[in-house]
Structure formats: structure tokens, C-alpha cells
Amino acid sequence: MNPFSSGTRLRDMIRAIRACKTAAEERAVVRKECAAIRAAINENDQDYRHRNLAKLMFIHMLGYPTHFGQMECLKLIASPGFPEKRIGYLGLMLLLDERQEVLMLVTNSVKQDLNHTNQYIVGLALCALGNICSAEMARDLAPEVERLLQFRDPNIRKKAALCSIRIIKKVPDLAENFINPVAALLKEKHHGVLITGVQLCTDLCKVSPEALEYFRKKCTDGLVRTLRDLVNSPYAPEYDIAGITDPFLHIRLLKLLRVLGRGDADASDSMNDILAQVATKTESNKNAGNAILYECVETIMSIEDNGGLRVLAINILGRFLSNRDNNIRYVALNMLMRAITVDAQAVQRHRATILECVKDSDASIRKRALELVYLLVNESNVKPLTKELVDYLEVSDQDFKGDLTAKVCSIIEKFSPEKSWYIDQMLKVLTEAGNFVKDEVWHALVVVISNASDLHGYTVRALFRALQTTAEQESLVRVAVWCIGEYGDLLVSNAGMLNVEDPITVTESDAVDIVESAIKRHASDLTTKSMALIALLKLSSRFPSCSGRIKDIVVQHKGSLVLELQQRSLEFNSIIEKHQNIRSALVERMPVLDEATFGGRRASSLPNTVSTSSGTAVKLPNGVAKPSAAPLVDLLDLSDDVPAPSSSGGDFLQDLLGVNLPPATQSEGTNQTPKAGTDVLLDLLSIGSTPAQDNNLSTPDILSSGQDNKPIIASLDLLAAPSNMMDLLDGLGPAPPKPAENGPAYPSIVAFESSSLRLTFNFSKQPGNPQTTMISGSFTNLSSNLFTDFVFQAAVPKFLQLHLDPASGNSLPASGNGTITQSLKVTNSQHGKKPLVMRLRIAYKVDGKDVLEEGQINNFPRDL
């Protein structure tokens, strides 16, 4: 048209781009084209606007930026002809998305086109609106779309219906406007309109309960009739797919019936017959038929119970599951997962087949099957199922091992019937796929091992054997190193043999060898190496004969570039060399780790926690109370996300031995009160665990006499001058003995005081349960009148749980001549993070007059 235009045709540009041999060439061609298009845009070239936009769309598809063409779409849409509008709308849908501001500018053009006399232009506008409309546009244009639902041409009605879906998804408030016009669409004969109408109806029911109620009442029977006519319709070539008339309509009708039948017995009842007919009569040799059956099964599962139908549905799934087509098996697994809530027994029957699917060559099917197996596990079948899965772990491919390991570990933790089984299975998993085992899983394993005192020997020997054959699995190495450090003596002495075990002969130097190899392994990371150093330190005391050799190994890391290793090496070397007298006390076996605390900590982060066996409430011989167990868990917890160092005396020694890479533990509270600091240290150094040990008296002294701020300075100096620390220890050595505290004592507080009444709280904690505080409250009457009908009430925020025991009485003698006591039990789910807080109300009568006192307690000790 314009003889002076220099632009190439669309076809030529595509050819030129396809002829490019390299990416650079392609970029050059595109750059040239883009420059020409920009020039044309600047000149406001009319004739080639649509061609330029088409080129831009192609360039856009190749992934180049094309934002400069957005306004061209708008211009094309605003021009009068159909061809320009058609390409303009296409560009709009392709180059823009609903979040772009430019879109607002087009609203007016779209509105005009929705009212256009040419129905094809109306169709273009509806299509574009349906694909990219934003919430604002939806609000502005909803009335037009609503009107078009009654347009004379069915092709416009169906487009309007889909456009309405988009509108009500963007603005659910508009749903009610569409209810009436849609009811009319459901009576249509035209399949396109019917399909889109049914779909719109389904979406309306999702966003609006009123719509659901309305359609359930008015349309259920009609829809059932439509479906019946469709199922029984004679061959219709226009809609036929594999011998079935319009499977798309089938499926949409079934979907809507599901929505209507769910939770409504009457509606469900009225669709039973037709569902049975679909389930039995549909041919299942082609994909279309299976798609319908699949939808039908889901509908049967979702609507109100009808035993016969459900049997039918489960049978269909069973048939699907044994199908050779992978697609069908995939959807069967998928649906069985939903069926498990309906009829677990029926699904269990297919367990063997499902287990086979876990080993399928198809990753999608494996993943589905694994999820399903996970749901199928219960106490009775856990052993065989776990065996199958663990065996499969050996041969499964690498991509799948991560998922599989996580699930297996979770199953083992959740359903393990006994500890020995748990430990056995975990060892197998660690051996096969230790690199995929998450940190919290092996932490949990260590806690369980520590609690199973009769299995210590067995476990450490099994780990030793495993480590001899495979040293490639990081977490296996860690657990083994930890256990050898703790229970090395049992390894050598073969103590606590179980019947099932083969005896092995391990010398002391073998044990040291294997830890040494862990430290020397190149693949070992910092955590493993640090743990191995600690294990060596512990072994140096357990095996005095190897002490010299261990010292040599430790010294090798004196010059390590990693600060953590260097520091440990220096410190441990000093302990081995200069402090024989306290070494054995320092490296005592860890006290039993508290399962409840650990379980509680995990519960917040993980859905499946370690099974906490209730029988193993920990009791330490010398009465170190249990709140200090939490830092022990931290000691194992090698995570790097530890909060800022708290400035109490405990940290310094924790650094000394702690595995925590950043130098502080999660202060679970204990080390904030001055006295509790001692307990942390006691536990850390494992001193408390053996009763009547002479030399352990010296260490508590160091701690209790060391002022809180001193050790911190010392710890800063540690690296520069390691001997500094030793001096500190030395100097404090011979202080007078002091009996170990009986649990962390908390000061009593005056919780509430008014002119006439005082309430004091005494605190205590149960061993092994740091979250729970026992409070004993005692009320004293400060006035000179007798209080009667005395009632105390308390309230706590949500993160706390409060249990009030009955009070000792309800009358309080005057002038402090007696007290009422009442016990409270508070469980703090945010223990260590949030302090206790309580609001209280006290009501009583003085001379027959009601008195009400209220108050809030904010002065609880911080670490309850």
C-alpha cells in the first residue's frame, strides 16, 4: 500500500530469524526489526501497524522485551475495522497481563466493543476480557457481560459465560447478579452454551453459598435429566469422541452434581441412579471413557454416603490400578488418596499393588504411590511396609532418594513399635541414604539412642560395623562418631550383648582409628569434624592407653584455617595435657537427653515428632533438675540459626564443649537466673550424672564462684591465649565444695498486693518438663476483717495453658492469721521466648458486701 515503506513482511522476518545460525545473529535481526518497528511507531504509521504488532508478538514469543508495543495494541483496538481489532486484541492478551496499568486505558474501548453491532467484534472483546480482565475492569464491565448472557447468538452466550467466570473470580461480590441469567443457560440445548453455563454455575457455587442453595433447589433435577439424556443419546458425529457423546459435557455435569450433592442428602439421593448408570455403562477402553469414569468416581466419593455406589467406585479404582496404561494408574493412585478418608479398608486391600507402584520407572507415579503408602501405614503393617521401602532405598535412583528417605524416616518415627526396631531401621536408612537424612531426624535418633540405655552397646557396635563398610553417608558418620565418643567403652568391652548380635572384637585403637578417619575424610564437613574432635576428647579419657595418640590427632588441627576446629584443637589439647585431674569428669557420658523437650521443640517445626515414650521420665541421681535438658539438646543441635549470645556464665563453658557453631545456645531459660547457670554447666560437662564422685565437686565450684561477667572476658581471650582459660580454671580449682542445687529455684514473687490482700507465688518445675511451671499461690488478708466466699480467678493469653486446682478454703481470717493456698499449673508453649503473664480477679465478701479486685501479673521470673 505504501510504496515507500521499507518494512519486511512478517513471513520474511520469521524466515530471517529462523535462518540465524547463532544466538548473536538472531539478536541482531531482532534488534534491527525492533528498531524499524519503533521508528514506525514514532511516525504513527497507520498502514503497517497490524503487521508490526504481529512481528512484535513473534519477537515476544522468542523472549525479547516488547513493552514499547503495548500502546499499539490499544490503537488497533480503537480502530474501526475487524482485522485491526482482531490483531489488537490478540496483542493485548499476549503482550500485557492483568497487572499492568496500561490495561485500564483499554476499558472504554472494550466497553464499546461489547456493545458493537457486529457480533464477531463483541466476541473478540469478550474473549480478551475473559483472558486478562483485572478486578477493576470486572467491576466496570460486569453489567455488559451479564446482558450478553442473553444474546441471540449462542457463540456469544458461551463466551459471555466464561467471561463471567473470570469476573466472579476477580470480584466474588458480583456473583449474585449472575445467578438468574445462569439458571436460564442450564436449560439450553447448544452444547457450547451448556458446557460453559454448567462451568459458570460450578464456579458460582464455589464463591457464593446463596448460589449453591439456589441451584441445589432449582436445578438439580434438571441437571440430572440433562445428564441422563446425554448418556442415552444416540450417536452424534459432531460431538462424538471414541463412541461417547461429548465427554466434556459429561464431565462438567458430573462436576456440578458433585458440588450440589456434597453435604446434602436429598440432592445426593436424586443423582444416585444416574451416577450408577454412568459408572456401569461407560466404556473404559478409551481415554475419554476413563476420564468420565474418573470424574464419576470422584463425585460418588464426595456426595452423601451411599454404600452401594461407593463399592462400585472403589472397584473402578481397583480396575484402574491394574491397568497397563500409566496415565490410568496415575489417576487411580491420585483418587485412592482421596478415597482413603472414605473407606480406608478398601484402599488397604490394594496395598501390594500400590507398593509396586512405588518402584515404578515413572517418577510421577512413584511420587503419587509414595504419598499414598505414607497414608496407608498404621501400627499393624508398619514393619513389612518399612522393610519394603528400606529395601527399595538401596536401588532407587538418586532423584527419588530424597523424597523416599524423608517419608521412610517419618514413618519409622511415627509408628515405631519399639526402640530397638526404631534404631535398627534408622541405621539401615543412614547406611543407605544418610546424605538425604535431615538434621532433625538424626538428632532425634541420637536422643532415642541416649534414652535406650540397654541398647547403647548394641547400637554403638552396629554403627561401628556400618561405618566400617560405608563411610560415605555424612549423617551416619555423625551419629556413629557421637556414639563411639559416648559409648566407646561398650564397643570395646562388648558389654550388653543382645542375643541377635554377632560378637566383634574391637580394640581401643580400632575405635580411635575410625574416628580419626572421619576427621580426615575430605568429604566431612565442619560439623562432622567438630563432633569427631569431641569424640576423641571423650575417648582419651575412656581409653587411657590411646591418650597419647589422640593428643597427636587433636594437635594436628592446631593450625586449622577453620576457627572452630583450631579453637577446639587448642582447648582439647590443654585438657588432655594439663588437666588430667578434671578430664574424666569433663568428658563423662552425656546425661540422658530429654525426649519430651526435644519432641516439643520439633513439634513446632515438624508435623511428625518422635514418639515420646512416657516411661522414660529422666531422673538424674544427684537431683539436678531437668529444665537444663534443653540446652543439652542444643548441644546436639548443630544448626547455625542460634540466637544472639546471652551473657551468662554458662555460655563460656558451653563454647568449650558445645557443638553449636555460633557460640551460644538457645537460652531455654535456665541460664538467665544466676543459680540455674550452674545447672547448665553441670549438665554440659555431664558432671551430674554419676553420684558420689569426688572430683566432680571441683567443677561446680569454678562455675559457681566465677562471676558471671568474668568468663565472658575469658572466652574472648580464649583464642589469643589459650592458657588464659586454663589459668582461670586452675585458679578456681581448690575452692570449698558446695552442694549441688536441688533444681533451679525461682524466687517467690508477690504477685498481687492491695491494701487488704496479698498474693504470693512460689514456683517449681517438674523434672523433664521445662514448659510447665507449678505455682503455689498463697493469699494473706491484710485487713482486719474476715473475708468470706473467697474466689480467685485467673486468665492467661493463648500461648499459655492454665490449670487451677481447688483452693484450700474460701474464708480468709483477718490480719494475716491464716492463708488460703491454691495451686496453679501453667504450661508455656513459647517457653524460652515469652515470659508468663497472667491476669487475675479476686472476689470475696467483707461483712456481706461484695468486693472485687483485679490485677495483672507481669513480674514473673523471666524464664518460666
Binding site: 466476541g123 457450547g192 458446557i195 459432531e238 464431565i251 496415575y330
Partner: protein, 161 residues
């Protein structure tokens, strides 16, 4: 609903993309990269579904072209396979035994066809005949407009000669 439709060639070239859910330009290219990596590498005998970021991608291969549609977890995967086939059959009828080159040089036509099959990520029309009829009406309207423009151009040319 269908969140997006992708046509990827065996070499990983994108032949058509249609987004029914909002994805930014960056996300779009990331999605394409990720999915072509997953889909193109799957063996021939495996099932046609891939789980991906909490959605499911249903794909089907026709010669060197992979047709992918991303759907919600609760949608009917088997039906989506039929939707893909439905779309392909219409392409075939429209172009007359369609091949990849048709979709490259007439990519806009492929989009027009898709717009008659899906709107807002929902299925629109199960009759192939209806769709073909609509498309030919659209095409003839474009032809008419072109002829008109040419004849007007000729008239102007004659007048100004």
C-alpha cells in the same frame, strides 16, 4: 482451571504460550525453562502428568511438538488430555494436516484457534465444526476488509494519476 498453555518443540523452542493466570514476564520465562527441562526429558512410555509447584502439568507429544497445559490438583487430568487432542484436531482441520511450520508462520492463527477452544482457562466448545465455521467467518471478514482497502487504494491511485 487451566493456568497456562505451552507449545514447546523438541529442541526447546517455544511455539505458543497462553497465560490465564497472572505470571510476570520473569516468571513466565522461568516457568518455560523449568517445564521444558522436565517435560522434554521424560521417556516415551511414562505417564503424561508431571507434578510441578503444587500444580499438575499435563502434556502430550505430537511429532516434534509438546502440548502442555498446567491445571489445578483437583482437575481431571484425563480430560485435559482430551482437550489437548481436541485442540490439535482443530488445528489439523484448519491447516489441513498441520505441521510445525504452519504453527511458526501462522502463529497468530494458532492463537485465534486456541481462543475459540479456551477462554479464561475454561473449556469453551466441544464441536469442532462450530469452531472451524467461526474461524472461517473471521477469516473471510479479514479478506473482505483487505479487498476493500485494495480497491479503495486503486481508486485513489487512479484518481491521482
Amino acid at each position: 482451571m487451566i493456568h497456562f498453555v505451552l507449545l514447546i518443540s523438541r529442541q526447546g523452542k517455544v511455539r505458543l504460550t497462553k497465560w490465564y493466570s497472572p505470571y510476570s514476564q520473569k516468571e513466565r520465562s522461568k516457568v518455560i525453562r523449568e517445564l521444558s527441562g522436565i517435560v522434554l526429558n521424560r521417556g516415551p512410555k511414562l505417564c503424561n502428568f508431571v507434578e510441578w509447584r503444587g500444580h499438575r502439568v499435563v502434556y502430550r507429544r505430537y511429532a516434534g511438538l509438546y502440548f502442555c497445559m498446567c491445571i489445578d490438583e483437583a482437575d481431571n487430568e484425563l480430560e485435559v488430555l482430551d482437550i489437548i487432542h481436541h485442540f490439535v484436531e482443530i488445528l489439523d482441520r484448519y491447516f489441513g494436516s498441520v505441521c510445525e511450520l504452519d504453527l511458526i508462520f501462522n502463529f497468530h492463527k494458532a492463537y485465534y484457534i486456541l481462543d475459540e477452544v479456551l477462554i479464561a482457562g475454561e473449556f469453551q466448545e466441544s464441536s469442532k465444526r462450530t469452531i472451524i465455521r467461526l474461524l472461517s467467518t473471521h477469516d473471510s471478514m479479514v479478506e473482505m476488509a483487505k479487498e476493500e482497502a485494495t480497491s479503495i487504494g486503486n481508486m485513489i491511485a487512479q484518481v491521482t494519476k
